[in-house]
């Protein structure tokens, strides 16, 4: 793929705007709260789009089109059952506690509801996870740019990291959130035309259906048994593992996304943030997955398009860029490439800002230096931005050197989130849950996840401690690990809590269901209230699933 001067110009124009937004917002920062929490003053349409964009990293964009070509429309389950229900639950039922408790972060809520040890455990695992996620994403981007454009790995990694550092250092969370919105719009503008053109070229949805195997164009029809569908995951593991444990664990407890909703200007806006975000999220498969399926159909049409190959197999990760090269002339190609860069930056900035807040408030202020003046924590927050970016760069080079270890790390991160949702659901909805119960439950749940990973084998991976069971695919293994981890944490937390003494009700006001007043804004218009919005999302979701069943 060759770039023209106009493509470079578009890329630089984008960099200028991103930095400009950071520069304009720098004056707004006078306290650590402004820098790390946006001072609860961001309009709801902005938090909603940032909520979705922070999750839409480069890896997601590259990976979803790759999965589209490999697994077909079933990939959309990562959005439809793997995100939307959890997003709705978060907005309707969990946000009142997050926002109402006045916690500054997800780990801090754990401190208020349970105690210090659960918070510290969560803060540390989360901090390590964010650094590695942004490192892995940086590595994926550097690798792709090297492969497709021949750019030097180090140059592209360091330049893009420097830009993210500059705008988050200047404007903190607000700058990250504002830029995420611009990035989201650019991703859609850069890839929606590609989806449209590739599908039209492949003869529309009917043309695609006639060219690829039926299993690729039905989301539910072949879900009955694990052997029939390309993902190798059956109905139960899909719904319970992905749809329940993994997605609720991610969307309801991961501070990276929860932080965006917490930055909203009011309780009502915080609750509506995930619900409004769910609307574009539901339709993103048409932008990110559909091109992959269309690419598969196009490769069977003798038009001169073949799926990219590497080492004798398909290299699905290049599907998106090869399509861009075939459909975009100079100019639009620059927009597509800029969209790819934007997705990387939104993912990385999301990780860096979440890391910042958790490190500064939950680790530094709690364990290293308590009771310092706020100006001190603002300075620490700013310095942490630099440290976070440098650590991410280190993780990117580490990933480049030991790419096999990265597969493992990603698998481990998948299991760290899984038990957490059990801790939160019990903490928020069962006032009898105790601090010791939560801590022991979380530790055993996490250990159960690691043990399952080490005792089972899938696609030749895992089984380091022995070989008890074989899964038909790594995805099925991942889903089952999550189910085991969640159940263990849930059962152990209840058991240990029943043994201990309950905490007095008055200490848990605003933290637990039944002891918290959830505001009813019955006077607001329907689209300003959470419940009607949620109903709208559910109706649309059901229609989409029937359409592509």
């Amino acid at each position: 793929m060759k770039l023209a001067p106009v493509d470079y110009f578009i890329l630089f124009l984008y960099f200028a705007f991103v930095l400009g937004i950071g520069w304009r917002l720098r004056k707004k920062i006078s306290t650590s709260g402004d820098f790390l929490l946006s001072g609860h003053g961001v309009p709801v349409w902005i938090t909603s789009l940032a909520f979705i964009a922070a999750n839409l990293g480069a890896q997601e964009l590259i990976g979803m089109s790759a999965s589209g070509a490999k697994y077909g429309i079933m990939t959309a389950h990562f959005y439809w059952i793997g995100a939307i229900p959890a997003i709705l639950f978060m907005g309707l039922f969990m946000m009142p506690f997050y926002y109402g408790s006045k916690a500054r972060s997800v780990p801090e809520y754990l401190k208020m509801r349970f105690d210090e040890k659960t918070r510290t455990f969560n803060a540390c695992t989360f901090a390590v996870m964010t650094v590695f996620s942004s490192g892995i994403s940086m590595y994926a981007l550097g690798l792709l740019l090297q492969l497709v454009l021949g750019w030097d790995f180090s140059t592209s990694v360091l330049c893009s990291a420097a830009i993210v550092l500059a705008y988050t250092f200047l404007g903190g969370l607000t700058s990250a959130i504002y830029n995420e919105v611009l990035q989201f719009l650019l991703i859609v503008a850069g890839f929606a035309p590609l989806a449209l053109m590739s599908v039209v070229k492949a003869g529309g949805w009917a043309g695609i259906q006639s060219r690829v195997e039926p299993v690729m164009t039905h989301a539910w029809k072949y879900m009955g048994s694990a052997s029939e569908n390309p993902m190798g995951a059956g109905l139960f593991s899909m719904v319970a593992g992905l749809g329940f444990v993994l997605s609720f664990g991610y969307w309801c407890t991961n501070f990276l996304v929860v932080q965006r909703a917490m930055a909203a200007e009011s309780m009502s806006a915080a609750r509506r943030t995930p619900l409004i975000g769910a609307l574009p999220k539901m339709f993103l498969p048409f932008v990110v997955i559909l091109p992959g399926i269309a690419a598969l159909a196009l490769s069977k049409m003798s038009l001169g398009y073949d799926l990219p190959m590497k080492d004798g197999g398909y290299d699905y990760n290049q599907v998106l860029t090869t399509l861009m090269a075939k459909f975009y002339p100079a100019g639009m190609l620059g927009v597509g490439l800029t969209g790819l860069m934007a997705s990387f930056m939104s993912g990385m900035a999301g990780n860096v800002t979440a890391f910042n807040t958790v490190w500064t408030y939950d680790i530094y202020q709690t364990h290293i230096r308590r009771g310092a003046p706020d100006a001190h924590y603002l300075k620490v927050g700013r310095l942490t931005t630099i440290v976070g970016v440098v650590l991410s760069i280190g993780a990117a080079y580490y990933a480049r050197r030991y790419s096999n270890i990265m597969d493992l790390l990603q698998l481990v991160f998948g299991v760290v989130n899984a038990p957490l949702f059990a801790t939160f659901v019990l903490g928020m909805f069962w006032k009898r849950a105790t601090a010791n119960g939560a801590f022991v439950g979380l530790i055993t749940g996490t250990s159960a996840a690691v043990a399952t990973l080490c005792l089972t084998v899938a696609e030749g991976k895992g089984g380091w401690f022995g070989h008890v069971y074989s899964f038909s695919s790594a995805m099925a293994q991942n889903f089952w690990i999550a189910i085991v981890a969640w159940t263990t944490c849930f059962v152990v937390t209840i058991a240990i809590s029943m043994l201990g003494r309950p905490r007095p009700d008055r200490e848990m006001e605003g933290l637990v269901y039944g002891l918290t007043k959830v505001p009813h804004d019955a006077t607001a218009k329907w689209y300003q209230r959470p419940a009607p919005l949620a109903v709208l999302v559910v109706v649309l979701l059901i229609l989409l699933n029937i359409w592509f069943a």
């Binding site: 106009v6 110009f9 578009i10 124009l13 984008y14 705007f17 400009g20 937004i21 304009r24 917002l25 707004k28 003053g41 902005i46 504002y178 919105v181 611009l182 719009l185 650019l186 503008a189 035309p193 053109m197 070229k201 196009l298 038009l303 001169g304 398009y305 090269a325 075939k326 459909f327 975009y328 002339p329 100079a330 100019g331 639009m332 190609l333 927009v335």
Partner: protein, 65 residues
């Protein structure tokens, strides 16, 4: 507080104008697999979107002051 619609609108309007210009100056430029003047259509759409954001921001700014 910065109204995000202003920089976003400006960005998309500029992007749209560049692409429109490309579509008009080099109308024969085609990618391998398409017969459409991609830059012209995408540029037009982005210009309209950018202008829409700017108009929204301008109206909000007027009702405030």
């Amino acid at each position: 507080m910065l109204d995000l619609r202003v920089p976003s609108g400006l960005f998309f309007a500029l992007l749209g104008v560049i692409l429109l210009g490309m579509g008009i100056i080099a109308p024969d430029m085609r990618a391998a697999l398409t017969d459409a003047n991609v830059n012209l259509y995408c540029g037009a759409a982005m210009t309209v979107f950018g202008a829409f954001l700017l108009v929204m921001a301008w109206r909000a700014g007027r009702s405030h002051s």
